[in-house]
């Protein structure tokens, strides 16, 4: 095993060992999983692009990426790898860096969710738009995960919003996610009973809500409609769970740490695990859409044995202080080391039609904040990897031109077989750039 590319902030010895156990156990069960994934894969997805990538993964940092260390100086395929991207150097044929793109959304932390929502933060997010089209047949229409947070993000600080502009909670405990992915035999019978009995009685509460609703003014009836919709959605979810109960995924025996690394300082370790679980979920056909929110609060990281000079948020407000920027870039690079691990795992695993999972998955790495030091949401650092796309190295767009980040999303959606010609404020596409 090449230790050079492993995350270093946790100390070599322990990480190497744990890292090795994980990947080893996950890949041991690979043949069975592939077979299983295929059986799912053949079911009912009649996308227009049969050869296109099947999965979509989006990753976003709450406090942005330091632009100067993220953007290569040169454009095109020949570029010198900038500091933050060093960990993914080996994948340079498999990704494109975009500079100068954004959604023209408002500034400030409150508008962070423009990352996937476009110009209007807190509205139907891109991942959910994709999931609503391609995720419905999977066990999980989409997975929303997070690391580095002490609490659940809510409202405008969240990342994923349903069609109704309602934010979706994110999972931060790997053990909880894992239990949802691989239900045990003894749990199955009980779950089935609960689902069946619960579903049959939902009609009752719906009827009750309708009776209540009848006497209410129009505005209040509209509000109660949220209840109907939510109950119906729960019903659908129960149905989906019932179907998958008959066809459970085999537990690959992934070794989780004894305790969930949810302390914000253990964000990197948590991210590596979440990346592994996303890869396993894609491989097993449990989902086709996943997102990972990399939160940032005051956690102080220790990198290469040295505690950084300030907490994450403090560093993001670097005020152009070179020492602060140096530490911030170390931190961004640590995120990219975890990300490189993800790309490596995707490359090891099999996707459909003999492709690697990397070629079968469009991975979007970005943020809703362009420059956290100024709270500016212009010029969002964006990287698209995998998906079998014709990658172009560094594509630089000046802030003045008309191209929006949404144009890129439209192209990504189309590659995933989701035919849209507009997203948020964007009406164009970047098809030519990625072909």
């Amino acid at each position: 095993m090449n230790t050079k590319n492993l995350p270093q902030y946790l100390g070599y010895s322990s990480v190497d060992r744990r890292y090795f156990i994980r990947t080893a156990s996950a890949s041991l069960s690979l043949p069975a999983l592939t077979a299983f994934g295929d059986s799912h894969a053949q079911k009912g997805f009649g996308e227009s692009d049969q050869n296109g990538p099947r999965n979509f993964v989006a990753i976003g940092t709450y406090l942005g990426w330091h632009q100067n260390a993220f953007y290569p100086r040169e454009t095109g395929l020949e570029f010198e790898i900038p500091a933050t991207l060093k960990p993914v150097a080996e994948f340079r044929q498999h990704f494109t860096v975009f500079s100068g793109l954004d959604h023209r959304a408002g500034n400030g932390h409150n508008n962070w969710s423009n990352f996937l929502c476009g110009s209007q933060p807190g509205t139907y997010s891109f991942d959910q738009l994709i999931a609503d089209q391609i995720g419905k047949q999977s066990r999980f229409a989409s997975l929303q995960l997070t690391t580095g947070s002490g609490e659940n993000r809510t409202g405008l600080g969240a990342m994923n919003f349903s069609r109704e502009n309602i934010y979706l909670p994110m999972l931060r405990r790997p053990s909880v996610l894992y239990r949802q992915m691989f239900i045990t035999r003894e749990d199955r019978k009980r779950t089935e009973y609960l689902l069946k009995s619960g579903r049959s009685s939902l009609d009752h509460v719906v009827g009750e809500a309708k009776r209540l609703s009848a006497s209410l003014p129009a505005a209040d009836r509209e509000k109660l409609a949220e209840y109907f919709h939510s109950v119906r959605s729960l019903e659908g979810r129960m149905g989906r769970q019932l179907r998958t109960l008959d066809n459970p995924a085999a537990d690959p025996g992934y070794k989780l740490p004894e305790n969930d690394p949810i302390t914000p300082n253990l964000q990197m370790e948590a991210s590596v695990i979440m990346y592994d679980l996303i890869a396993i979920a894609l491989e097993c056909g449990l989902t086709r859409v996943a997102t990972l929110f990399l939160d940032g609060l005051g956690q102080v990281f220790t990198i290469n044995g040295r505690p950084l000079s300030s907490g994450y948020h403090g560093l993001s407000h670097h005020g152009n202080d070179p020492a602060m920027i140096r530490d911030l870039v170390l931190l961004d690079t640590a995120h990219l080391e975890c990300f490189a691990h993800f790309l490596r795992v995707l490359r090891e695993k099999k996707g459909t039609r003999g492709k690697t999972l990397l070629d079968d998955t469009i991975v979007l790495l970005g943020t809703g904040m362009g420059d956290a030091s100024r709270h500016s949401n212009r010029d969002l650092p964006t990287l698209v990897a995998g998906g079998g796309l014709a990658h172009k190295g560094h594509v630089a767009l000046t802030g003045k031109q008309e191209t929006l980040l949404g144009d890129l999303y439209i192209t990504l959606a189309q590659r995933l077989g989701v035919e849209i010609d507009s997203f948020s404020n964007a009406r164009g596409n970047m098809n030519e750039v990625l072909s």
Partner: protein, 904 residues
């Protein structure tokens, strides 16, 4: 709240305009005080939309603008506010207005406000006469009052805190916790309990359903599965070693202390826990080590502990099982049968050991006698604890445990041991005994060292091993029994010989009105009964039927939503509003009884109940939740200040407690509202006061909060002088005068500034010290587009610049050698030089703050933003509170009897 969408067909706005995100916290509107500091919001894209809608609908239901006000508008306003030149996006050149349109009501309220404040027309333009202003104002006031009704809260689902408390009370499970990943709530109008913000989403229903299942599992459990009996043998290596509670010597585990702190006296199996509650057969092998006269029998006390119990537990937390007497130096076996509950294992303690860490008096007695008997023993302890004599530093914490014993033992073996102080009346001996008699000295450090004497020299009770075999049969644990008791109490009856249906009917009659917080009619009850009876008909068990019933009740809209009936609240909804306002929980028995008797709508009774529910401790929800949200102190824990401020969890807790205790006293003592700004007291802790507020000489424990008298007119004290407030308005790294200013504007003065437009470059603070924040901001207030708002925001922020990001007073800007200039000019022209002046100004204009606080409380209580007529009602109430020299408690009592409070 969704102002993102714009009316269709609006020219030039197919693309929604971003940038100014409109917050809808109510604006203060009418001339209310002479000097008012207010904003006109520039570039309100929202109003652009509003006017367009009004025009579209003009044909339908619009009423004509009468000539007189129309003339005033034509004469002074329409030059700038006409379709061709809609300054600020506002058009006032209209013939008719569709008044019921919400956007129009808001627009004209704004017009009224700006006109009556003489904010419009702008300086330099022709100004209307006082009579013309009055004419316009009266016309708008009349229209607004005619077209607006009190009330209109959207159906509110319980928010996370309310839901948790409601579940806990309903099923008497005070320690129930929500599962991880339970969705939170969005904040709208500054609070997380607003009708608009409390969206019901699939994620919510899924989580409610999950909680309902968890509760049903506890109350109506599945039959336990038979578990085959197994036997676990453990040796000494399978037992836990905790501090100096035990040690392994010669293959035996020796015990030494009878302390009640289990981590200092007990041992327990590392790997065993009962899989189910049942009867187990236990054997214990042990012996006595070097007993002296009178030591026998040594009693080994066996208790049952939860494996997950905290190491900080005391022995009484564990269930007593058996005392086992040991008398032999050879292995002796005791066997007994006992109940172990699910998750429990055994715990062992030498019950009659002479040494007890926690009994400080007995420890001093023990050591006194020992020192009298054995002067060499005394000298060795003196040598260990006072290596440099009494003048040197006493060594206590490093003498902990085995390390300490090694030092003492070395002294004991030392042939040259200094015996000169080894008398009972020497100061060293006295000091040594004093240390043994202290928490820490006797309970921790020296006590732990002493244990090792017993491990090596005896006497000690030693364990050789144990076996746990079972279960031989299953039993109900205390926890099972507790839930059975709850199930019985919520049904009002045990199952006994009642038939399934009869039992369920009894249960529903008692439980449904509590769950739905109002009486339930018979058809509702029968409908629920049917859920269970149909389930039973299909052959499911009694518990399965009740389980399904409970799952249904707990996701019913009547449980999840409150106050659904429109109009004036009836007794039951009033009980609900009152109760959730004060306690974030459902009405208690007394409120429910009053509501059932139809007595709560009586204002006198309502006030009496409000008095009863008034906060009495700082954890009270009206204190904690309201201040946490109003003053944003709820987010303190996520700020995590830069390490250089040495501000950690303890300091953050103190800062938050200061605010809560202060707010509580404001209520309890019915203080005048201006004391929020400039009081004669504050709450703080001595070391914190010294470090942050430069208040010296406070007595009492250094980190215990106490009430402190301060002179009025101080820098510190009051909301604008508290660490928590200064912290929440900074980012933990540096201060941002603009953010602080905007915060004061919104939360103290009650005016919401708009978000900065997105085409304005954000300010990058340069922390390298080349320029001060004031110099950097000067550049950005140089631009007209910024100036309009920033001349209202920035002065308030600069006045607070003497407070660093954790609220500590400073004279110089960080990183520079330059004196902080906190002076500013308020928009009414008042010049202030610092925060003390700002507080003076706020006190002399106390109605601004008072109205803001009253509005915030009302928004929090009703879950809706206040409209013009509601604000009118509150304004009257605030005016009389001030003129009658009322206080904070009066204000709250007056609020709950208003129409605004009493209407859905």
């Amino acid at each position: 709240m969704n102002f993102r969408g714009f009316p269709p067909g609006l020219p030039g706005h197919q693309q929604p305009v971003t940038g100014h995100k409109i917050k809808t916290v109510p604006l203060m509107t009418v001339p209310f005080v002479a000097a008012v500091l207010l904003v006109s919001l520039p570039g309100l894209t929202w109003f652009r939309g509003a006017v367009a809608t009004a025009q579209v609908q003009t044909e339908k239901t619009a009423t004509a603008v009468p000539d007189a006000p129309r003339e005033v508008l034509q004469k002074y306003c329409v030059d700038c506010h006409q379709p061709d030149a809609a300054e600020g996006g506002i058009i006032l050149d209209v013939d008719s207005i569709n008044w019921p349109e919400k956007d129009n009501l808001e627009l004209w309220e704004k017009v009224l406000h700006n006109s009556s404040q003489s904010r419009m027309p702008p300086p330099g333009s022709d100004q209307p006469t006082a009579g013309e202003r009055k004419l316009l104002g009266d016309w708008i006031d009349g229209q607004l009052s005619r077209h607006l009704r009190i009330g209109g809260t959207a159906p509110r689902r319980l928010n996370q805190a309310e839901y948790l408390k409601t579940v806990r009370e309903l099923v008497s499970m005070r320690d129930y916790e929500l599962p991880p990943g339970f969705p939170g709530d969005s904040e709208v109008h500054g609070f997380d309990n607003m009708g608009e913000g409390l969206v019901m989403s699939p994620a919510h229903i899924a989580s409610y359903s999950r909680v309902a299942t968890e509760i049903a599992d506890l109350l109506y459990p599945q039959p336990r599965k038979a578990v085959s009996s197994r036997i676990q043998r453990g040796g000494v290596e399978d037992l836990v070693l905790s501090f100096s509670a035990s040690a392994i010597k010669e293959g035996k585990l020796r015990l030494a202390s009878s302390a009640r702190d289990i981590m200092r006296s007990c041992t327990w199996p590392q790997q065993h826990q009962a899989k189910v509650s049942g009867v187990y057969r236990v054997t214990v092998d042990g012996s006595v080590f070097k007993p002296r006269d009178g030591d026998l029998p040594m009693i080994l006390e066996v208790r049952a502990r939860q494996v997950s119990a905290s190491e900080r537990s005391v022995i009484d937390n564990f269930r007593f099982l058996k005392d086992l007497p040991f008398t032999s130096k050879k292995s002796q076996t005791h066997a007994f049968e006992t109940e172990l509950y699910k998750g429990e294992t055994l715990s062992f303690r030498w019950k009659n050991a002479e040494f007890d860490h926690n009994n400080l008096k007995a420890t001093v007695r023990l050591m006194t006698n020992w020192f009298e008997r054995d002067k060499r023993w005394l000298a060795a302890w003196q040598q260990a604890v006072f290596p440099g004599g009494l003048k040197g530093k006493a060594r206590i914490s490093t003498l902990r445990g085995l390390n300490g014993w090694n030092v003492i033992n070395k002294a004991l073996q030392d042939p040259d041991l200094d015996m000169s102080e080894a008398t009972m009346d020497s100061p060293e001996t006295k000091e040594l005994l004093r240390i043994f008699g202290t928490v820490g000295g006797g309970t921790h450090n020296l006590g732990d060292a002493l244990c090792h004497y017993y491990f090596n020299q005896g006497p000690s009770l030693q364990l050789h091993g144990y076996t746990i075999e079972g279960p031989t049969r299953l039993v109900d644990s205390d926890v099972d029994k507790r839930y059975q008791q709850i199930a019985r109490s919520i049904a009002g009856t045990g199952k006994g010989k009642l038939g399934n249906e009869k039992y369920a009917r009894t249960m529903l009659a008692k439980f449904l009105p509590r769950a739905f917080r109002r009486p339930v009619d018979n058809s509702t009850l029968e409908a629920y009964l049917k859920i269970a009876s149909e389930h039973w008909e299909k052959g499911h068990t009694f518990h399965e039927g009740m389980h399904l019933l409970m799952r249904n009740i707990l996701i019913s809209p009547q449980f999840l939503y409150r106050s659904l009936q429109p109009g004036e609240l009836d007794d039951h909804d009033l009980a609900v509003r009152l109760s959730y306002f004060f306690t974030q929980g459902p009405p208690d028995a007394q409120l429910a009884a009053l509501a059932n008797a139809g007595k709560l709508t009586d204002s006198k009774q309502l006030r009496t109940q409000a008095k009863r529910l008034m906060p009495n401790r700082r954890e009270h929800p009206l204190v904690r939740s309201f201040t946490g949200q109003w003053l944003d102190t709820r987010g303190l824990k996520s700020i995590m200040p830069d390490p250089k401020f040495k501000f950690e969890a303890r300091e953050i807790n103190i800062a938050q407690a200061e605010v809560e205790l202060f707010f509580l006293d404001m209520i309890r003592e019915n203080r005048p509202l201006r004391d929020f700004i400039d009081p004669d007291f504050t709450w703080t802790a001595p070391y914190f006061a010294k470090r942050i507020y430069q208040i010296k000489g406070l007595r009492g424990r250094h980190d215990k909060l106490q009430r402190v008298k301060i002179p009025r007119g101080s820098r510190h004290g009051g909301l604008l002088g508290m660490s928590a407030i200064m912290m929440t308005t900074a980012n933990g790294v540096d201060t941002q005068p603009v953010l602080r200013g905007a915060w004061v504007l919104e939360n103290i003065l009650g005016i919401s500034p708009p978000e900065p437009p997105d085409d304005v470059p954000a300010l990058t603070p340069d922390t390298r010290g080349t320029s001060t924040p004031r110099e950097m901001l000067a550049a950005h207030t140089g631009e007209d587009s910024c100036l309009n708002c920033h001349r209202r925001i920035d002065p308030l922020g600069f006045a607070l610049e003497n407070f660093d990001p954790v609220g500590k007073w400073r004279e110089k800007w960080p990183g520079t050698n330059r004196q902080i200039d906190a002076s500013a000019t308020l928009t009414d022209g008042t010049k202030i030089k610092d925060v003390v002046d700002l507080k003076k100004w706020l006190v002399s204009n106390e109605s601004i703050f008072a109205f803001n606080l009253a509005s915030k409380l009302m928004v929090y209580a009703t879950g809706r933003p206040l409209n013009y007529v509601e604000k009118k009602e509150i304004r009257q109430l605030v005016a009389s509170n001030l003129s009658e020299k009322g206080g904070m408690r009066d204000l709250i009592l007056d609020l709950v009897v208003t129409q605004t409070f009493r209407t859905k």
